[in-house]
Amino acid sequence: MATATETKSSAEVKERKGPKLPVLLREELILNNRSANWVTERICGILEKPQPMLWWLLFIPAALVAAIGVGFGLTYLVSTGVGVWGNTNRAMWGWPIVNFVFWIGIGHAGTLISAILFLTRQNWRTSINRAAEAMTIFAVMCAGIFPAFHVGRVWMVWFLAPIPNANAIWQNFKSPLLWDVFAVSTYFTISLIFWYLGMVPDLATIRDRATGKVRKALYGIFSLGWRGSNRHWQHYEVAYLLLAAISTPLVLSVHSIVSFDFATSVVPGWHTTIFPPYFVAGAVFGGFAMVLTIMIPARALYGLQDMITMKHIDNMAKIILTTGTIVGYAYLMELFVAYFSGAKYEAMAFKYRLFGPEAIGYWTMMSCNVISPQLFWWRKCRENLWVVMGVCMAVNIGMWFERFVIIVTTLPRMWLPGDWKTYAPSPVDVMTFVGTIGMFLTLFLLFLRFLPCINIAEVKWTLPESDPHHDDKEELDDPGVVKIATYQKEIDNGAVKA
């Protein structure tokens, strides 16, 4: 029922003269007014239909690389001895720890998307959180391999657990290395709980659509008998919020503690207070690049453009730009402190990083991590998927080199020049690292094949008709304005199907 004042105002609007006022519409999270049923069909279709040829073309080589690199590489390492790695007395931490920090950092974007963006009510996260969390879990699995085998005798790895070892000696709870054990294992466990709990309603969706007996039984068991009851949703939403709330400080703590491994030592180039925030920003930076690296192809492969829209890619590109710039600031601040502190060992360490034998690593890191993301200041670059993919690949490479620079250019050249050595990785080092890339891809492809890669329940929740007051909203079109879709250009040129 329109009141007298409303009638008057709408009459006034009709009388308004002059050009129409352009209004930029808020980007829709799900394009083309898709229904809840369409969302179910599209996401479940991925794992119900046979996989496209490209899936097999990626899966078979990835699985082979994983089997040879990780499987054979580690078997060879265990049967021969840890000396097959390139680590020496002067460089106890070579590639294995570089790879460990690299992979653990990748995981952080998943938790950032699932927890921090949830707490800050960034609803665009719903389309990407599932895949990003899966990425977290697989990245932490890849990361865990390296310290576990780096202990030397992997069958003694239980010495890390908080139980007295064979000589009744307890762990040193004051050591960052033990903090790391607790941080990484807690991180993995909580990420797994968060991921699984978020997936229960979606597993129930697949269960209810399943036709085969085995399929029904398996998805039935893992969906725990979920039936969409609101008395369940009530507790479930609180649980999800709680997990987000505890994951947020957790994710910040994990890479801070990883950075303590370096920062609490007295090694020049490591002993800096900037390390924890610098590591966390770097982890988010590298992680988002990896999310985009795997999501852009998956989006195209399975036709998910209506759910993972250009807005998502644009937002992630902006996060990469922000965190990349923070990382750049940290690099420059390190250099400034090395110069301005007057600490000569620190200054020498940085001089060798910049101009020493491994300077190529430093400059790769600088150009990939600091310069390449600056392209994202331009909207055209954020909208061109080839540019986005290119920058993300550069960041992936750059972030690996960052850890390489931190570890490999520092440890072999510490206090005594007479002690200095040059570090070189062995072929087994390279093989294991390449193997973990294969393992990561294999696990991710299996995830796409068997689990819902987008959070079905949460995507449905973001649809406009899911609002219980949707039917009550009256259409109050103001004739004095022209509404412009945010990605009108894309819709016009056919990149997004209307």
Binding site: L224, G225, R227, W233, H235, D471
Partner: protein, 185 residues
């Protein structure tokens, strides 16, 4: 046993939109039903209030779970580093004043036990996992995880009546009203 008597679980009614479900829930709440529930494939915003549900007690459970983790972390570090196996490393004393070095592990165990309490507390509060439920016998209820929105009023509700409840659900705008029977008995 073709003549076995089946127990009635209750009425199941479908609703067209989230708005209609929300309004129907308010009506059910005001009619004084106790054993009833709404079902949807996504959490409908504000439905807890429309159903008259109390706030979840899960946060309290998790708070105590977290405290247990904190105490475990402190106990583990203190007992081993001060009581059982005191070592002086990094010039840190083997007494209570080393506690800042225990903070990371205390923190991580707080998080770990909070997480476990969230998971198991949630499962306990929901009464899951369970292998079957009478509603799964309904063919239309399969759509609950797709796009179906339902309300079920159970026969064990004191206000339930075979004809009255059906009429009530019809009045609310429910469609495909179905009498669900409990297969288990």
């Amino acid at each position: 046993m073709s003549t076995s008597v089946k127990k009635v679980y209750g009425y199941l009614a479908e609703f067209e939109s989230a708005s209609k479900l929300w309004k129907a829930c308010e009506e059910c709440r005001d009619a004084g039903f106790q054993k009833w529930d709404a079902f949807s494939s996504f959490p409908v915003h504000g439905l807890d209030k429309a159903m008259g549900l109390k706030k979840s007690i899960l946060p309290y459970l998790v708070f105590f779970g977290g405290l247990t983790g904190l105490a475990t972390g402190f106990g583990l570090a203190y007992i081993t580093q001060v009581e059982i196996y005191p070592t002086i490393v990094q010039a840190k004393p083997a007494n209570i004043f080393t506690v800042p070095a225990f903070f990371p592990i205390m923190f991580e165990l707080t998080i770990l036990l909070s997480g476990f309490t969230t998971l198991f507390g949630l499962l306990g509060l929901m009464g899951l996992p369970r292998l079957n439920h009478p509603l799964f016998a309904s063919e239309q209820f399969k759509r609950v995880t797709d796009d179906g929105l339902f309300i079920a009023i159970e026969a064990r509700d004191p206000k339930f009546s075979p004809l009255g409840t059906r009429e009530f659900l019809e009045q609310l705008g429910g469609t495909n009203i179905e009498l669900v029977e409990d297969d288990a008995n």
